[in-house]
């Protein structure tokens, strides 16, 4: 008999039954007498289930405990960490609901996401780490060095071009040993008398080494080759020789 029919019999009286309920119960009871007999049976069954909850004797359980201890005597006692692992990894739950698996999944997700989140931050905070900017720094340093050299050359040219107006004006040029390829040239004929000094404290008198140093011009203007050269061999002047070898 279906549970619904039992509930109808237990809860209702025969005169309260609807036509559909009577149709359903027709197989079991067609009269009020049969209906009440069934009601008595099912009410008694419910009464038995409520009142007669039987409990086995304690001796039965003790005997079974002894059998269990004898059967599993070699198994070590359950330690606390076993129950801890049981909590973290309960085998009776689906794998996605086990706490240990959930923790592992979160950790894996963090490892996968972290590089994407932290990449921009690295670039913003440490731009000096970028290698592409290193040649630019070198170029800048080279540019500064070349500009310094150019300034020195321009100053020298300026001094030389001013010579016709100032006439035999002495100019002193401070040169560092690192200056390379310094060429003296003058676009117009001039008599230059200059004293060059180096940081090494070696001093060369250039006026004594000019080719054709004596001019016929009343004002002393020299007309001829604009190339200045030393008439004295460099090897005879150790200081000049050292300068040349050092620069070339």
């Amino acid at each position: 008999m279906e549970k619904e029919l039992v509930d109808i019999i237990e809860d209702k009286k025969f005169i309260e039954l609807t036509s559909s309920e009577r149709e359903s119960l027709k197989e079991w009871c067609s009269t009020e007498e049969e209906f009440d007999q069934l009601k008595l049976v099912f009410l008694e069954v419910e009464q038995m289930k409520r009142t007669q909850v039987m409990t086995p004797r304690a001796e039965t359980k003790n005997s079974l405990d002894a059998i269990f201890a004898q059967k599993h005597s070699k198994i070590p006692p359950v330690f606390w960490y076993n129950s801890f692992f049981t909590v973290l990894y309960p085998t009776d739950k689906p794998i996605q609901r086990r706490p240990l698996m959930q923790i592992a999944a979160i950790g894996l997700l963090f490892l996968l996401v972290y590089p994407f989140v932290s990449t921009n931050k690295l670039i913003e905070t440490t731009p000096q780490l970028a290698k592409v900017e290193e040649p630019a720094v070198k170029e800048e340093l080279k540019g500064l060095s070349a500009e310094k050299d150019k300034t020195i050359v321009d100053d020298l040219d300026e001094n030389i071009t001013d010579l016709p107006e100032t006439r035999l004006q002495e100019s002193t040029i401070e040169m560092s040993p690192g200056v390379e390829g310094l060429i003296f040239s003058c676009p117009e004929p001039a008599v230059a008398s200059a004293t060059y000094s180096w940081t090494t404290d070696s001093r060369v008198d250039a006026s004594s080494s000019l080719t054709g140093a004596i001019s016929d011009h009343p004002d002393g203007i020299f007309i001829g080759s604009s190339t200045n050269s030393f008439s004295q061999a460099a090897s005879s002047q150790p200081a000049v020789f050292d300068l040349l070898t050092a620069t070339f």
Binding site: M1, E33, D36, M48, P56, T60, K61, K71, S83, D92
Partner: protein
């Protein structure tokens, strides 16, 4: 410790059986707490309300669970399995009772109990209705009694009863109908409508 106990409280019967096979005593205690009482009641109804025999059967059944947990098929329902084992134990007891009856001097302890109960039914009316019902259930034919007990007292479904008894659903319904009608008929004298 609270977590440990709560863990077993929420475990299914089948999971407890697996834990028992690994030597988990708490799992055995939990399974015993769940089924010892209902099984004792079932044996009481099936074994002529013999308390001693029913206690022994409960003990033997749980001893079987402890010693041979591998007999349980984890793909099956534990409830169905344990009641089928209990039912087979009752059937074996019926066979032994038949043999004892054939070897005895004609006295039958079980039917003497029923005769006594029939006297009770005749002597008392409403206030002994409960006892009369139990006795009516006791004298009911075994195959009908087991179906009625499993359905209405143990709460198994038609399908579960069919699995336990290894019969078809239709047979279960037929036996259930007969048992119910028989009990209703045997308790006719307590019917208030008829007594009016």
């Amino acid at each position: 410790m609270r977590l440990f106990k709560a863990q077993h409280k929420t475990m299914t019967d089948e999971s407890l059986m697996q834990a028992i096979s690994t030597g988990d005593k708490h799992a055995f205690d939990e399974l015993y707490a769940r089924y010892a009482g209902p099984l004792l009641g079932y044996f009481m109804k099936m074994l002529w309300r013999d308390r001693e025999k029913s206690e022994d059967f409960v003990h033997d059944l749980f001893a079987k669970i402890v010693n041979k947990p591998e007999y349980f098929d984890v793909t099956r329902s534990f409830k169905t399995w344990v009641y089928s084992v209990a039912n087979n134990m009752c059937k074996n007891e019926y066979k032994k009772a038949e043999v004892r009856k054939g070897m005895s001097n004609g006295l039958d302890n079980h039917f003497s109990l029923s005769d006594k109960n029939s006297n009770v039914m005749n002597e008392v009316q409403d206030k002994f209705f409960q006892e009369a019902f139990q006795k009516s259930l006791t004298i009911l034919d075994d195959k009908h009694k087991e179906v009625f007990s499993l359905r209405h007292l143990e709460g198994l479904s038609i399908k579960e009863i069919a699995d336990v008894l290894e019969i078809s659903d239709g047979t279960v319904k037929s036996r259930l109908f007969y048992a119910t009608k028989y009990l209703a008929e045997s308790l006719k004298e307590f019917n208030p409508v008829e007594n009016r």
